[in-house]
Amino acid sequence: MPEPTIEVSAVAAKPKTAEANETDRAEQLRERRRLMLLVLVTIGAAVLATACLLAQFNVNAILYKGF
């Protein structure tokens, strides 16, 4: 009796259809775009956070002379 694993590996070894490849590529592209967006948002947040800290520092410097 043939091992069921042989059948499974035979199915897995089958080359992907062009349609499946296209879906994979689209998924990868979406993933990359999402990551890029996250990078941009993080950089934006970092800039804004620095601006907030600097503004607070200046306010403190004005409020408490010699800070």
Binding site: L35, A46, L48, C52
Partner: protein, 406 residues
């Protein structure tokens, strides 16, 4: 050094980037311990030499007590220890209401201990859990790093020793992939924006509104609008400040492989004060539940089993009153504690009343109704705003705002 400062954020980013290039657990622990010591060193000058000595004594006593409880658990010793610890805490914090009963000489010499309020919770947790046989891996090294963990030293979150050890004894990356790391950075930056941007703006607006309130001569409508703005601005300031701080430390800790407990879960959507304390400063709410409310309720249930359910509201009141007064030593926090105690006790009594009138099924229907839920959230939100108005120590100003709103 403040957690919300440029130097802290830069140190965090640089150190976290290097952290996992250090191989092995021990060197990583040593590096984190150095960070803890460095952070503490920036805070100690404010406390002075006496503050540093007092901190060392406080930590040593906690460790010895926990070891003693592990070796020989005795209820009497535990009770004496807890009573002495709480008495020392109350005197060190110079609680205004205690000064009425105790001699003034006790309060003449002030000693400031860095992060005392939060270390008290951690110390009690370790000692009580050691007594109950729930603590493993209790070594001086682990204990000191737990107590002085820079991500929870100043203002929490209140982490349990066992939970800390889960991360501390592994110190491996907990963030999987670049997306998770980016999200942690984003959380830190958003935390900074919340604290230094939004919260600071809310506080500035609140201060602007309160300035000259005593001598206000404008129209009644304008005065009402100004008082209403103050009513919402201070709670907004407290929320953004504290949740922003938590975002910074929780996000920052995750970059070092340390998992800190979450402290907020959309608190202004709570439908009553009991619900609120499971959403706002959650680690404090859960600590109070486990180490104050539950033992108290258990003691009542053992003594008067029939009355336990109807007396639960009393346990709620005491637990949340204590939570309130823990926040600060001035009289406004007594009012804050009373309001929180009354809020949770009323929520429990209301629940009991519904069960009495309409049964468990009725309560279920009541909780499922969207209209009631919306009304309850709105009412609770305003009650929460009222309690937070008592955060600033100037009681007369708070009373004036309330007078104008009413």
């Amino acid at each position: 050094m403040s957690v919300c400062s440029i130097e802290w954020v830069v140190c965090l980013l640089v150190t976290s980037a290097l952290f996992f290039t250090v191989p092995g657990l021990r060197p990583r622990q040593a590096m984190l311990a150095l960070c803890n010591a460095g952070f503490l060193a920036t805070l100690l000058p404010e406390a002075g030499v006496r503050g540093a000595v007092a901190l060392a004594v406080f930590l040593a006593i906690g460790y010895v007590a926990a070891k003693l409880m592990q070796a020989k658990p005795q209820k009497t010793i535990l009770v004496i220890y807890l009573a002495a610890l709480l008495a020392a805490f109350v005197i060190l914090k110079q609680y205004a209401f205690v000064k009425i009963f105790l001699p003034a000489s006790l309060f003449q010499r002030t000693v400031a201990i860095v992060g005392l309020s939060y270390m008290l919770f951690r110390q009690i947790q370790v000692v009580v859990d050691a007594y109950q046989g729930q603590i493993e891996n209790l070594t001086l090294w682990n204990y000191l790093n737990y107590q002085l963990n820079l991500f929870g030293l100043v203002a929490g979150p209140i982490q349990r020793y066992q939970q800390f050890c889960e991360s501390w004894l592994r110190l491996e990356p907990v963030l999987e992939g670049p997306e998770a790391i980016l999200r942690a950075y984003l959380r830190v930056f958003l935390g900074v924006i919340k604290v230094a941007g939004i919260a600071a703006a809310c506080l500035a607006a609140y201060d602007w509104c309160t300035a000259g309130l005593e001598t206000w001569t404008g129209s009644h409508a304008k005065l009402l609008a100004r008082a209403a703005a103050m009513f919402y601005l201070y709670p907004a300031y407290i929320y953004f400040n504290f949740s922003g701080y938590c975002d910074i430390v929780i996000g920052g800790a995750s970059l070092f492989g340390l998992k800190m407990p979450e402290n907020f879960d959309r608190p202004f959507l709570a439908r009553n004060m009991i619900d609120y304390w499971t959403r706002w400063h959650r680690t404090l709410g859960f600590w109070i539940r486990d180490y104050v409310f539950t033992p108290m309720y258990k003691a009542i249930a053992e003594r008067w089993p029939q009355k336990a359910a109807s007396l639960a509201f009393l346990c709620y009141f005491v637990a949340l009153f204590l939570t309130g007064i823990w926040h600060g030593s001035t009289w406004n926090f007594v009012v804050f504690g009373v309001l929180n105690g009354v809020g949770v006790a009323a929520a429990k009594l209301w629940e009991n009343w519904i069960i009495k009138r309409r049964g468990r099924k009725g309560l279920k229907q009541y909780l499922a109704s969207p209209a009631i839920r919306a009304g309850a959230i709105a009412a609770n939100f305003h009650y929460v705003c009222l309690t937070i108005l008592f955060f600033p120590s100037d009681l007369s100003k708070t009373l004036q705002i309330i007078k104008h709103v009413i």
